[in-house]
Amino acid sequence: MSTAPHSGSRPHHTVHTVVAIVENRPGVLMRVSSLFRRRGFNIESLTVGRSEEEGLSRMTIVVDGESAPVEQVEKQLYKLIDVVKVSDLSHEEMVARELAMIKVRCNNVNRHELLDIANVFRADVIDIATNSLILQVVGDEDKIDGLIKMCEPYGIRELSRTGRVAMVRGTKTTTVHEREPEKIARIHEKAGRRVDNVELPFSSD
């Protein structure tokens, strides 16, 4: 990347959320991560887990958009044989969440303060001991950063974050399902089991 100093304010820090559907085979994580290393793409977070399709895993990769044009990331990912589908969610309406566990120091005097803070962030207390408690919080990165900041004065003993997982809003998916044949879709629709093309007035926020 250019080493020239930015004139004026730093351009907006761009991160891209890339979802890769990969074959669930040994070595696939290494193939993906070593690709990023070799091409010089910086990973901010990477999560892997099973998808709804047997034999396929879903990776959510947050890439520093300044380290590489995201389309190069996508194309290079596609070249891996074990990568079945790649989608850049950055231009989509998406929901992105992360989970964090924070083990915070506390005592009888200040515990209730922490519980108040946890309440504000809708964090759960998942473990409690005489001198510490573990908060579990789910949300976007800003929310988790906020809670961490609030906990810092008490002393954070341990912190574990999962990294981002994301999905496109609405009925659109980023999976590799074969489209449902039209005939069958119509039957479902007639039976009132379909809500396609109807956006529900629902948001988890």
Binding site: R31, Q72, Q76, I81, V84
Partner: protein, 563 residues
């Protein structure tokens, strides 16, 4: 269905994929495979002297024939010795199948004797690789690996098999179909994009085609000639694209790049439309990216979508097989003539005759190559190493057909020449094959001379011997203030080395002997080596210094021309 051992399945599967030759070297864990080899008389095993030789031979075999080359090594050092050759095929996109043994399953990951994580090591230099943990995985792995190596943009693959998997017995089942969810190369170009490209070409005043290795591997040289002739577009090639367009054709203007023809570089830089066909806009070809012809509209046709937009943003990207895209593009373009544009390049060529060889009392390497061209009537297959001799071989021999020049362009692997020439000769036994070597690179793989004797291969070897690592010496002279460090080499007597193997050899010390030596080698039935004691300090011109733009191509300075 029959019960077979893993070793039998391996060889049976390779044979079913059309493999007839394996370049290999035995060792502990592949003993079960070698034990089985006599059961497959259709598979010719060629015993190399170093596994690097095996991987280059498989590569040379592939490049000469267009078919997949196969190399085989044992675990650990056998496998790691293949790596340089695998990476060479990776960079130049050639279909090479590397087969390796590994330690028995129980020892995997325990640092057993001669264990190396070769699938891990080769992740980034293969299209894909496999480790077969059961004998019943082998057939599918070989089928898939072959499919991956030979389709789309070709490339190397590796299959690693532990020793006890070779010994395991199972039912052999041949998978008729290969279906990979994550691998579906696009071959048909987008019709709308092709139409847009044709419109731009029709309106262009100064279009140029840059043809790459993809034209050769896509078997699209005829289609390229037809397009160029119909739309009257001059064609230059990349270094690896040499032979993809006949150099004797009136629309051929040589090749571009760091040591390309001056007029080819100028034409690429002055063109208003640049059509990249089966090439990847590499830095050695294009010079400094940001100053390459900033006003040109780029049309980029390649089968690998990741190459499009990697170094240059094209106005029209076309992902597809060049063999399918070019005829459609030809249909859409108008027939026309562009005499002014051709005259402009012709004039550049007259004023800057890169391929003119000056009169000199010295033995000029350029003249040696030109003599070879004349003596062989331009019909020989030329295999080169890397360095000055490679550039001279590219410049002063003229190539008329695809696969006629075999050279390591992307990785620049010294020592490629001799083993690759062996592979090429094995693939095409009747074809006159010359290995053009540097004195440095030849010493990297010269142990493979033994294979010429074993297999009675009539490869002719021409060493352009200047006693230097010539290209490095040239850079030290030009860019490091003549601070010559570690470039002068004491050479052995190459003729005696050849002689020790029972290979005929002659040394040529004067330019008057060049033709005679070449004739003698051509008339000799077996392999032969010629040690050409060329002028020691001749440099390769023209040159685009590293990091410079094509427009900054430097021609030979006057004092060098006076030598």
């Amino acid at each position: 269905m029959a019960r077979m051992t893993g070793a039998q399945i391996t060889l049976e599967s390779l044979q079913r994929e059309g493999v007839d030759t394996i370049f290999g070297y035995p060792g502990g864990v592949v003993l079960p495979l070698y034990d089985t080899l006599p059961q497959f008389p259709g598979l010719r095993h060629i015993l190399v002297r170093h596994e690097q030789g095996a991987s280059h031979m498989a590569d040379g075999y592939a490049r000469a024939s267009g078919r997949m080359g196969v190399c085989l090594g044992t675990s650990g050092p056998g496998a790691t010795n293949l790596v340089t050759g695998i990476c060479t095929s990776w960079m130049d996109s050639t279909p090479v199948f590397a087969l390796t043994g590994n330690v028995a399953r129980a020892l995997l990951g325990k640092d057993g004797f001669q264990e190396a994580d070769i699938t891990g090591i080769t992740h980034s230099i293969t299209k894909h690789n496999y480790m077969c943990m059961n004998a019943n995985e082998i057939a599918l792995a070989i089928r898939e690996a072959t499919h991956i190596a030979t389709t789309g943009r070709p490339g190397p693959v590796l299959v690693d098999i532990p020793k006890d998997v070779f010994q395991e017995e199972t039912e052999f089942e041949w998978p008729e179909q290969v279906s990979l969810r994550g691998y579906k190369p696009t071959t048909e170009g987008h019709a709308g994009m092709i139409r847009r490209a044709a419109e731009i070409i029709d309106q262009a005043k100064r279009p140029i085609i840059i043809a790459g290795h993809g034209v050769i591997w896509g078997d699209a040289h005829k289609e390229l000639v037809e397009l160029a002739e119909k739309a009257c577009i001059p064609v230059i090639t990349t270094f690896l694209g040499i032979g993809g367009f006949p150099e004797e054709h009136v629309l051929s203007y040589g090749w571009l790049g760091m040591h390309g023809m001056f007029y080819a570089n100028m034409a690429a830089d002055y063109a208003d439309v640049v059509i990249g066909v089966g090439m990847r806009f590499d830095d050695r070809a294009m010079g400094r990216f940001k100053d390459f012809n900033p006003t040109a509209k780029i049309i980029h046709i390649d089968i690998d979508p990741a190459e499009i937009g990697k170094n240059f943003k094209p106005v029209v990207p076309i992902v597809g097989d060049v063999k399918r895209v070019l005829p459609k593009l030809m249909e859409e373009t108008k027939q026309q003539t562009r005499n002014d544009w051709l005259r402009w390049i012709d004039q550049q060529r007259e004023e800057h005759p890169t391929l003119h060889i000056r009169e000199s009392r010295r033995m000029l390497p350029q003249a040696v190559i030109r003599s070879l061209y004349d003596e062989t009537q331009g019909n020989a297959t030329i295999v080169t190493g890397v360095g000055q001799h490679q550039m001279w071989a590219g410049q002063h021999y003229f190539y008329k057909r695809p696969r006629q020049l075999i050279t390591s362009g992307g990785l620049g692997t010294m020592g490629f020449e001799l083993p690759a020439a062996i592979g090429a000769q094995v693939a095409l036994p009747g074809q006159e094959t010359w290995a053009i070597c540097g004195d440095g690179g030849f010493q990297m793989t010269m142990q493979e001379l033994a294979v010429l004797v074993d297999e009675q291969l009539p490869v002719k070897i021409a060493i352009l011997n200047n006693g230097y690592l010539g290209m490095v010496r040239q850079w030290q002279q030009l860019f490091y203030d003549k601070n010559f460090v570690s470039v002068a080499m004491t050479q052995p007597d190459f003729c005696k080395i050849a002689d020790a193997y029972g290979i005929r050899a002659i040394r040529v010390e004067h330019k008057s002997e060049v033709e005679l030596a070449i004739r003698e080698a051509r008339n000799h039935k077996g392999p032969m080596l010629i040690d050409f004691q060329i002028d020691q300090e001749e440099n390769v011109w023209p040159m685009v210094p590293a990091g410079a733009a094509l427009s900054e191509t430097i021609e030979a300075p006057a004092e060098e021309l006076a030598r």
